[in-house]
């Protein structure tokens, strides 16, 4: 069993490339490239309760497939799969700007909550994405927006090192009302000082322990 990403992923590239690695392998989850074959399951997730804090879902399965097919090559769109198990969610790195060494983490959704129970799937998925961003692409900053009522996600992102940088007032129109977006950001040094140790700790909690029996 591996206990983290492959060694090749840890080494920074000499020249960052915008070609998305097709697979990022962790201990509990694998990130693999999103394809049109994922349209049915991702469309179902986007219509689920847990996606209520995200932008509106595609109207139909065909729209979802068209949306996936139209993703630009500069976006890294991943499915989150349990190792040896099913796909449970999705996660993206978008707006990748190598000149300013920044990118946005986006479209983070655990669609199959039951399958993720008891496993540090969300944490390790984010850890793999951060490693890609900070170690492989050499970025200085990751940022993102979280809908203000998504309290669990805000708490989770801040615990893992994100800092609140501002508030975009009435930024989303959801459930018939305008709501604010909370702007979060994480610098490379904060990732190394805060995010990485905390992520490692949470991942360790998911490992079976010797019972002494």
């Amino acid at each position: 069993m591996t206990h983290g990403p492959t060694e090749s992923l840890r080494a920074p590239l000499e020249t960052p490339s915008l070609e998305a690695p097709p697979r990022l392998v962790g201990e509990f989850v694998i990130l693999r490239a999103l394809t049109c074959d994922d349209a049915p399951i991702t469309h179902r997730w986007r219509l689920g309760a847990r996606a209520r804090h995200l932008n509106g879902a595609a109207a139909s399965l065909e729209d979802q497939a068209r949306w996936i097919a139209s993703r630009p090559t500069g976006e890294f769109n991943y499915m989150i799969e349990l190792v040896g198990g099913p796909a449970i969610g999705m996660l993206s790195l978008v707006n990748i700007d190598l000149s300013n060494r920044r990118a946005e983490s986006a479209r983070f959704l655990i669609g199959d909550e039951a399958a993720a129970q008891g496993a540090p799937a969300a944490v390790e998925a984010m850890k793999l994405l951060y490693e890609l961003a900070f170690e492989r692409l050499g970025l200085e900053r990751i940022y993102g927006l979280v809908e203000e009522r998504n309290h669990l996600m805000l708490k989770w992102q801040k615990y893992l090192g994100m800092k609140e940088e501002g508030r975009l007032r009435r930024h989303f129109f959801m459930d018939g009302e305008f709501v604010d977006a909370v702007s979060l950001g994480l610098l490379a040094e904060e990732y190394r000082a805060t995010s990485l140790p905390r992520m490692r700790s949470l991942i360790a909690l998911g490992r079976p322990r010797a019972t002494g029996a």
Partner: protein, 103 residues
């Protein structure tokens, strides 16, 4: 000691009740002394676990006026995870308090 244990349990129950306010009805967790928390046999995902950790750490720090971290190396290296269930977390917090804020 029973008084301190009751106080810690109240804090953990409060964190679980706060979590339940964020979850859909069918995803809510039982609030009790043997509620499983996190690990191969448990029922929380990592988003919910972090919510509990943050709320418990915040409440402990306010109550005992000393910073308390529940996820340092010491917690990770224990044979039985402090996050197996509410009882294990209570025991772990009491152990930390005995060192950081002796009664």
């Amino acid at each position: 000691m029973a008084g301190r244990r009751d106080e810690v349990l109240r804090i953990i129950f409060g964190a679980l009740e706060s979590l339940n306010q964020e979850l859909d009805e069918d995803a809510r967790v039982e609030v009790g002394p043997s509620t499983p928390l996190f690990g191969p046999e448990a029922s929380l995902d990592s988003l919910s676990l972090v919510s509990v950790i943050v709320d418990v750490e915040t409440a402990l720090t306010l109550k005992w006026d000393t910073p308390i971290s529940l996820t340092d190396d010491r917690a990770m290296s224990r044979e039985i995870s402090p996050f197996d269930d509410v009882g294990a977390l209570t025991d772990y917090v009491l152990e930390l308090l005995a060192e950081l804020a002796p009664a």
